[in-house]
């Protein structure tokens, strides 16, 4: 019989791969990698708040991730380059979170579990919340898919077609906060952005349409989860980093595949 904890870990990882695949594609297409980082790092601050006010960790991270995303959107275009703004916010959010956690009295906090994830300790209650978040993200992205894609190509083009690009940005912001809240238990705050970007980037080599790329990103993310768990079980390595390491290896293989295919014929 498969160990119960392993089943829960696999299911949790699958949920994260399912939500991170399509969202990660938009992060790649819209060059939002740093934005994902800032939102994910802010989750540590959310953990501190959740512990201080006895909220669930998911609720705390969701709230702070949303606040962070709103702050970034508000600061965008205020004179600073976007990567400077995000660099400041991403790292200060992490620093403030770590400082805040040290102030939480009377709670023994396993900080590493939030920084690097603790997928093997996912409970059934966690699992339900993770799947609810992941399915909400997939439903949201599926509903707005064409509008999101049009706004990603050109905001003016979207406007002329009756789409409000600001609203689509908000959709992505909400989806990002949901993924961060769902994934913090699985891969940890430091590596959430990797689960968004690495499978999506690897999927590019296999895809000829945006939809195919999203599906391939889900499949490759799922493969990384399975591979990472196997690596963790066999070699006793930390599970979250192992998942990201396998995803990176898949990315390397995809690059090689893409290079070979380009030599065979044009990718058009």
């Amino acid at each position: 019989m498969v160990d119960d904890f392993l089943l829960r870990a696999g299911l949790a990882g699958a949920a994260v791969a399912l939500a991170a695949g399509p969202l990660g594609c938009f992060v790649v297409w819209r060059r939002m990698a740093y934005f994902g980082d800032a939102t994910a790092h802010a989750a540590i601050l959310g953990v501190a708040l959740a512990l201080a006010f006895s909220l669930s960790v998911q609720a705390g991270t969701l709230l702070v991730a949303l606040a962070m995303a709103a702050t970034v959107s508000a600061l965008a275009g205020r004179g600073w380059a976007m990567d400077t703004t995000l660099g400041v916010l991403a790292h200060s959010a992490l620093a403030f979170g770590l400082v805040a956690i040290s102030f939480v009295q009377g709670v023994r906090v396993d900080l590493a579990a939030y920084l690097f994830g603790d997928i093997l300790a996912v409970s059934w209650a966690d699992l339900w919340r993770i799947w609810a978040g992941a399915l909400a993200v997939v439903a949201l992205l599926a509903w707005r898919w064409s509008a999101l894609l049009t706004a990603t190509l050109s905001e003016d083009l979207a406007h002329a077609a009756g789409i409000d690009p600001g609203r689509e940005r908000l959709v992505l912001t909400l989806a990002l906060a949901l993924v961060v809240a769902a994934a913090i238990k699985v891969v940890g705050a430091l590596l959430i952005a990797a689960m968004l970007i690495v499978p999506a980037a690897a999927a590019r080599a296999f895809a000829r349409s945006p939809e195919a790329m999203a599906v391939a990103a889900v499949a490759l993310g799922g493969l990384a989860v399975l591979g990472g768990l196997a690596l963790s079980l066999g070699q006793d390595t930390p599970a979250g980093p192992s998942i990201v390491a396998v995803a990176a290896a898949i990315f390397g293989a995809a690059i090689a595949f893409g290079a070979v295919r380009r030599q065979d014929g044009p990718d058009g």
Partner: protein
């Protein structure tokens, strides 16, 4: 009734006024080209007419239910986004395959449906944008510097395509160009914009002149024409967007167009420069520092 009209349209970004009191009407079926230097508010005008930018003052009136086909200025598709031409034409709404094939064929892109957008040449990319705009069966086609990235022959080819589309669909065309002196010959009206409407009129049919052909070669097939600036007012106002030395600047800053062959820039400058007699006639030699090999009209012609 005009398709779209701007009445006293004014747009401000903070303290900067991009457009001031612009009046404009586009009638069904006419081709209007808007020219002006960089930062003259051309794109702002187009986006205000589309309803993307709300006017600070004045108003924009679009005929109710007006179908607009829009070709945006620059569209860079991230190389990380795989997108076929057919899928691009189906954004944001799915289109029947037959309609896509017809739109592509009309723009000379037969059987391009499965090509990747990223693999298209500059001219093919612009034609794909045009094909997408045609799917709306537009009554008004709006194009924002559609030929900015094309070479002279590519521009001519694109202009001929737009002419053909207008003939077939009967739609009006409003096109923005940053080229000050070369516009589409088929333009019914050219509007020179620099924050306000400087002047407007029909482009002269210079394309037929042998001097013109000598300049651009026969490859343009008569699709390009020169527009002569018939300024009807004196530019002694100072634009706030222009820095020190502004007083000596004409409305069209120098480096914008290859105009030394026409001597136009220097004549503009001499006319606008303070300290030179405004109505004194600068000699032809003084007016054109490098008398071009081909000149549609004598350089000493009175200007303004």
């Amino acid at each position: 009734m005009s398709l779209v009209a701007a009445e006293g349209l004014t747009l401000r970004y903070g303290a900067r006024t991009a457009l001031a009191g612009v009046d404009l009407r586009i009638a069904p079926g006419e081709i209007v080209t808007v020219i002006g230097p960089n930062g003259s508010g051309k794109s702002t005008l187009l986006r205000a007419l589309l309803g993307i930018l709300p006017p600070s003052a004045g108003r924009v009136v679009r005929r109710p239910g007006l179908r607009i086909g829009y070709v945006p200025q620059r569209l860079t598709i991230d190389p990380g986004l795989p997108l076929t031409v057919g899928r691009f034409l189906s954004l944001p709404r799915r289109q029947p395959a037959a309609a896509i094939a017809a739109a592509l064929a009309r723009c000379g892109l037969q059987r391009f449906e499965r090509r990747q957008m990223a693999a298209l040449s500059g001219g093919q990319f612009q034609r794909a944008l045009l094909a997408r705009a045609l799917l709306a069966e537009p009554e008004l086609l709006m194009l924002d510097e559609p030929t900015a990235s094309l070479d002279q022959a590519g521009k001519a080819e694109f202009y001929r395509l737009i002419e053909a589309v207008r003939r077939e669909l009967g739609c009006a065309v409003l096109m923005v160009s940053h080229d000050l002196h070369v516009v589409m010959a088929a333009s019914d009206r050219v509007i020179c914009l620099n924050g306000h409407v400087c002047c407007q009129g029909t482009p002269t049919a210079v394309a037929a002149a042998p001097e013109y052909r000598a300049l651009f070669g026969p490859g343009t097939g008569g699709a390009l024409a020169l527009y002569r600036h018939a300024h009807d007012h004196v530019h002694d106002h100072v634009h706030d967007a222009v820095g020190p030395g502004a007083a000596a600047m004409p409305d069209h800053p120098g480096a914008d167009a290859p105009r030394d062959a026409f001597g136009d820039a220097s004549r503009d400058a001499s006319r606008d420069a303070p300290g030179r007699p405004r109505n004194g006639a600068p000699g032809p030699a003084g007016a054109a520092p490098q008398p071009g090999p081909a000149r549609p009209e004598p350089a000493g012609r009175g200007h303004g």
